[in-house]
């Protein structure tokens, strides 16, 4: 059966269906899930049917929950998708579906569940009964084919579907090696070339409106302040001509941006990996070298914005994100010139493995659709101890690496086991009109994952900047532009996930063999016998610790001493990432202030890594208590203890006056039973406060699936016994 016939049949089935019917639509992979679900809705709407898109559902949401959702929305048909991530969640999901299959009867109408082929396979193996209840399974084509088939079957081309083939690109300018100097003789030549460039960009603005500007070093000739006055002028003109705001202009220093007069007295290079780690991890150790970039930093920050990294930040601090037409682009400004001093730099420079790794993690955490790394030097200028590794981190984390230095254009797509990137070296934008001068204009398409380059060169004359046909001689059919594919990425998670992994390992160690055996059995590993040594358990511990963002993991290790590990992970994260004021319990409003800070911290946690957000909302109650406990100990001075078994946090100890003590209850609520939880929770608070003698109480409520649309709310409520307590909705 052709794909179209299949889709037509699916639609016929939905329109003929009476009452509760579940159809399964299978797509190739989880990445295509959202797009396919949307297209499927369009297809069904063209039937015509009224369709409600119930969105992506979590692994704890099964037929019972779906039925509830469909009953809450009036429509002819419903579409939803599910993508349980991680083996433990997959196994929990399949068991749930198998068990709850009879609840499919409660669906308010025909419903299409969209899953990936991988999930389907797991369901077939783990939920055979569920399959006997399914009306039918349909394999969906890839989103592109689905979109065109849907249109043939009468679906109106949806707004997003229509521009899918012609994704509006993110346009950028890549300049490098400008070498500005206030030399009077040079001045005319310099102005002729660069003034021509600015004019060219001004004229080109209509047909090629720029979104981003990247400058990869050597803006000045010898890193002196008088040169940077010219740089500032050039930047101003450039931004004025292109209309790109300063915060979307990025730069890194090159070897000519270094004040060699200062550098003469400094360490020439590092000799070992350990030194590199110390240099890039510890701000103090970079303090002297930072002086070499004083003029550069002052001028550039003056022109582009105070506090911008511009190559002077390291690790996560080197990364900035901008949103261009809904696509999040991360830009890491990496400084390869920390150790530049003379003409013998080759092999002596350090970018810092730790630096690049942490920048890549930040890119992951930000959930960027596209990541650009800027640096000045080619890789072979880096010290041989780190060269290979730096490239590998870039392969995993970044999509486009822009550089300069050699005054020679070079562009290639690197495809590696870790992903890969497109490396673009811009020619010198100005090295004297008797030498070639050039730059690149580029187009990034994050969804299509391509980078298209348009090379330009200076040619003397009335219209000095022209398309350089020599760069891509074989691409005459495409206007001498070349399109590079960008490899898919599997970025590594950053800060919070790392803390979590440590917590997971600790939790497992303390949880004992039963829990480990359960995990082993669920992920299909052979569990060692009861008496086996620690050695035999190690692979399982190691594997399981990679499952931290699989919320089902925490359900399994729950009710174990894992709570502390989780609280500490949150505290460590909080201390490093989220600095805030300290609150003492002598403050009469300490609880209110502390909870407010906790809410801020929680929001911060949930808005970062997407996986973390999902993770937090699916955590069991007792672990949620630990997360809040972790946040609380990072803001509150004074003893705070956590009782995971009753999801209770206690502030203060018995010896302290009542006004310095409080009890906080943590409750997960479901939509349908919320007031019941509040009522029960407040009565419980009364009991707890009576027993402990504390003066203050609070109840923290968290929904079970999605972050609230409404802002965080902290309100005063009365308990049944008439106490005034706080109610925090997260």
């Amino acid at each position: 059966m052709s794909a179209e016939a299949r889709l037509e049949e699916l639609r016929a089935r939905v329109s003929l269906a009476r009452g509760a019917t579940l159809l399964l639509a299978v797509v190739a992979n989880d990445a295509a899930l959202d797009e396919s679900r949307r297209l499927l809705c369009d297809l069904l709407r063209a039937a015509p049917l009224s369709v409600v898109d119930l969105g992506a559902q979590g692994y704890e949401s099964g037929p019972g929950r779906w039925a509830e959702l469909t009953r809450g929305a009036a429509a002819d048909a419903f579409v939803l998708s599910a993508a349980p991530k991680g083996p433990l969640s997959v196994s929990a999901f399949t068991r749930l579906l198998n068990a709850e299959r009879e609840l499919l009867r409660g669906l308010a109408g025909p419903t299409v569940l969209v899953v990936s082929a991988q999930t389907e396979k797991a369901l077939r193996q783990g939920a055979p009964d569920f399959f006997t209840w399914l009306a039918q399974t349909y394999a969906l084509p890839e989103p592109e084919a689905l979109s065109s088939s849907a249109q043939k079957l009468g679906a109106a081309p949806a707004a997003a579907a229509a521009d899918a083939p012609a994704e509006e690109p993110i346009r950028f300018l890549h300049l490098s090696d400008v070498h500005l100097r206030p030399d009077r003789v040079k001045r005319y030549d310099q102005d002729r070339v660069l003034g021509g460039l600015v004019e060219f960009l001004r004229r080109d603005r209509e047909s090629f409106p720029l979104d981003l500007v990247f400058i990869t070093g050597d803006l000045a000739q010898s890193g002196r302040a008088d040169e940077y006055a010219l740089v500032a002028d050039l930047l101003r003109e450039l931004l004025d001509a292109t209309g790109v705001p300063p915060e979307r202009t990025f730069a890194v220093p090159g070897n000519h941006d270094v004040d060699r007069g200062v550098g003469r007295w400094l360490l020439r290079t590092l000799s070992r990996d350990e030194e590199s780690i110390a240099f890039f991890e510890d701000e103090q150790s970079r303090a002297f070298h930072a002086q070499k970039f004083e003029a550069y930093g002052k001028a550039l920050r003056g022109a582009l914005g105070d506090g911008r990294p511009l190559g002077l930040g390291v690790g996560e601090g080197a990364v900035e994100t901008v949103e261009v037409r809904g696509a999040k682009v991360a830009v890491a400004s990496l400084n390869s010139a920390w150790f530049c001093q003379g003409d013998d730099d080759q092999g002596k420079l350090w970018l810092g493995e730790a630096n690049v790794d942490r920048a890549a993690q930040r890119v992951h955490d930000e959930g960027a659709a596209f990541a650009v790394a800027l640096m000045h030097h080619p890789f072979d200028y880096l010290h041989e101890d780190e060269r290979e590794n730096v490239e590998r981190y870039l392969e995993r984390g970044f999509d486009l690496v822009l550089r300069g230095h050699l005054h020679k254009d070079k562009a290639r797509a690197v495809l590696s086991a870790r992903g890969g990137f497109v490396e673009v070296a811009a020619p010198a934008a100005y090295q004297g009109s008797q030498w070639p001068n050039g730059c690149f204009l580029g187009e990034i398409r994050p969804r299509q994952r391509t980078v298209r380059l348009r090379p330009y060169a200076y040619a003397s004359g009335a219209d000095p900047w022209v398309l350089d046909t020599k760069v891509f001689p074989d691409d005459a059919h495409d206007g001498h532009c070349h399109t590079y594919p960008v490899a898919e990425k599997r970025r590594w998670a950053g800060s919070f996930t790392r803390h979590l992994q440590r917590a997971a390992r600790e939790a497992l160690r303390s949880a004992g063999p039963e829990v480990q055996r359960e995990i082993a059995s669920q992920i299909g590993l052979a569990a060692p016998s009861a008496g086996a040594s620690v050695e035999h358990w190690r692979p399982i511990t190691r594997y399981a610790s990679s499952l931290v963002d699989d919320p089902a993991f925490w359900w399994i290790v729950r009710a174990n001493p894992s709570a502390n590990a989780l609280a500490h992970a949150v505290r460590d994260w909080s201390a490093k990432t989220f600095s805030k004021r300290r609150i003492t319990t002598s403050d009469p409003h300490f609880l209110e202030h502390a909870l407010w800070e906790v809410a801020q911290g929680f929001t911060e946690l949930t808005k970062g890594e997407r996986s973390v957000r999902r993770f937090l909302y699916q955590l069991p109650e007792e672990h949620l208590g630990s997360v809040l406990h972790g946040l609380l100990i990072s803001v509150l001075d004074g003893p705070v203890s956590d009782d995971p078994f009753s999801s209770k946090i206690v502030v203060g100890t018995d010896g302290e006056p009542a006004t310095r003590r409080a009890v906080i209850g943590v409750r997960k609520t479901t939509l349908s039973f919320k007031h019941m939880w509040v009522k029960k929770g407040l009565a419980w608070l009364d009991q707890q406060l009576d027993a402990s003698g504390g003066a203050y109480g609070a109840l923290v409520l968290l929904g079970d699936s999605q972050p609230r649309k409404k802002p965080t709310q902290l309100e005063h409520v009365k308990t049944p016994a008439g106490r005034d307590v706080l109610l925090l909705h997260l």
């Binding site: 059966m1 016939a5 037509e8 049949e9 016929a12 089935r13 329109s15 003929l16 269906a17 009476r18 009452g19 509760a20 019917t21 299978v26 019972g64 068991r95 749930l96 198998n98 068990a99 709850e100 299959r101 009879e102 609840l103 499919l104 009867r105 409660g106 389907e120 396979k121 077939r124 193996q125 055979p128 009964d129 399959f131 006997t132 209840w133 009306a135 039918q136 399974t137 394999a139 359900w555 009710a559 069991p620 109650e621 999801s647 997960k668 479901t670 349908s672 039973f673 019941m676 029960k680 009565a683 419980w684």
Partner: protein, 420 residues
């Protein structure tokens, strides 16, 4: 055309694999119900319940073979005799993927109280007080009026909260461990009160327990579900339990463990002398009746007679599978813009079914499937075999000795696999 669509929509409705003939049908089952399907088994079950007021019976069977339909029929008949019947749909009331016996008993108690109220059978005041006391404890002192209806409602409400929240489930179990009123004792008291009306508890949905948990609840646990309660009870159990080697220990506690498996409708009889199968007229007739009973009120001519035979062969004798094939054929005919359900539609539906099996195919299946085809015999305790039996790859028949057969789509798939 819209007329045609209405007719096809109705056909889709009657071939819904989720078949509920008793729903909205008043006293008797709907007209589409074919009592012959499990006549023999049903009369055995009814006889056992009639002769023994404390009968504890088990019913297992492939998904879709008609367990729930059978139990609903039995419930109706017993109610007609004036007995109090609590039909407990555990799936609708509890989190079956994490079901403890506590929830089972609470759901049964709630159902019994409602039934008692409806049948004006008195439940003693001390029993009601015990239920209220228990509720007050778990609900932090909320008072419930001392009448069966309000208590049943409160119990159901609590169960539905428990279904939603793991924390509450754990709390409930912790409560039980700490001692106090055991929900089984509450249930027993209610059953004792109603003894005059010969109460029967039908627990449907227990067959949805995941295999591991089923093993735990029925085989490893000392206190077997319902075994210690007074009155009669029928429990649906997962087929996976039946295939466990220790299944026979249940025969001491339940009255029909040896005949717990509800057979599929037999399409073939096994000839032990020749070790071959011969088509069964009777089975085919029953399945034909099942299709006709559903189609006739709509339009007796809309499904061509040859079509039904093809669908029956394709179903392998599983009633839900038959409904599914018929439903798929209706869609095929509709998309084709045909006026009748023709053999080509069933062929296309079987082809889809085959593709669906192919998607689920695992190389481990091949030798077992080959063995089934060649010998009609299997080693039951094998994990792969269980998976095949449960996923309807192999349709099982019990006829003195156990033997097996493959549904048509699986046989076709097997042939294709061998050719490839």
């Amino acid at each position: 055309m819209s007329d045609q669509r209405a007719k096809f929509r109705e056909l889709m409705g009657v071939f819904d694999p989720i078949y509920r003939p008793h729903e909205g049908a008043g006293d008797g089952p709907g007209r589409s119900f074919v009592p012959e399907a499990h006549q023999d088994y049903r009369s055995q079950l009814e006889a056992a319940l009639d002769l023994n007021d404390n009968a504890k019976l088990l019913v297992a069977g492939q998904p879709g073979c008609g367990k729930t339909t059978l139990l609903l029929g039995v419930a109706q008949k017993l109610r007609g005799e004036g007995r109090i019947v609590a039909f407990v749909d555990l799936e609708a009331q509890t989190a079956v993927q994490d079901l403890g016996t506590v929830e089972m008993y609470l759901a049964a108690t709630a159902e019994l109280l409602s039934e008692a109220q409806a049948a004006t059978a008195p439940v003693s005041a001390p029993t009601l007080d015990a239920c209220r006391g228990w509720l007050a404890r778990v609900r932090d002192g909320d008072e419930v009026a001392p009448n069966p209806h309000d208590i049943a409602t409160a119990l159901r409400r609590h169960l539905s909260a428990v279904r939603e929240s793991r924390a509450l489930r754990d709390e409930l179990r912790a409560l039980l461990r700490q001692g106090g009123d055991d929900p089984l004792r509450l249930l027993s008291r209610v059953l004792d009160d109603l003894a005059q009306r010969r109460p029967v508890v039908l627990l449907d949905g227990l067959d949805k327990l995941p295999p591991g948990q089923a093993l735990e609840v029925f085989l490893n646990e000392k206190r077997k579900p319902m075994a210690e309660a007074p009155g009669a009870a029928v429990l649906t159990i997962p087929l996976s339990v039946v295939y466990e080697p220790t299944f026979n220990v249940l025969s001491e506690r339940y009255n029909n463990a040896d005949s717990a498996v509800l057979p599929a409708v037999r399409l073939y009889e096994f000839d032990p002398a020749k070790r071959t199968r011969v088509p069964s007229e009777k089975g085919a007739l029953i399945l034909r009746r099942i299709v006709e009973a559903r189609v006739d009120p709509i339009d007796p001519n809309v499904v061509m007679p040859e079509t039904i035979d093809r669908a029956i062969a394709g179903s392998g004798g599983n009633i839900r599978e038959l409904a599914r094939l018929m439903q798929a054929s209706v869609v095929k005919a509709y998309v084709r813009r045909g006026g009748f359900i023709e053999p080509q539609d069933v062929e296309a539906a079987i082809a889809d079914q085959r593709e669906s099996f192919r998607r689920a195919y695992d190389p481990r299946f091949l030798p077992v499937l080959k063995r089934v085809r060649d010998e009609y015999q299997l080693n039951e305790s094998d994990e792969v075999v269980k998976q095949l039996l449960y996923g309807l790859w192999v349709i099982e028949y019990r006829n003195g000795i156990a033997w097996y057969s493959l549904p048509t789509p699986v046989e076709q798939l097997l042939r294709q696999l061998e050719r490839a």
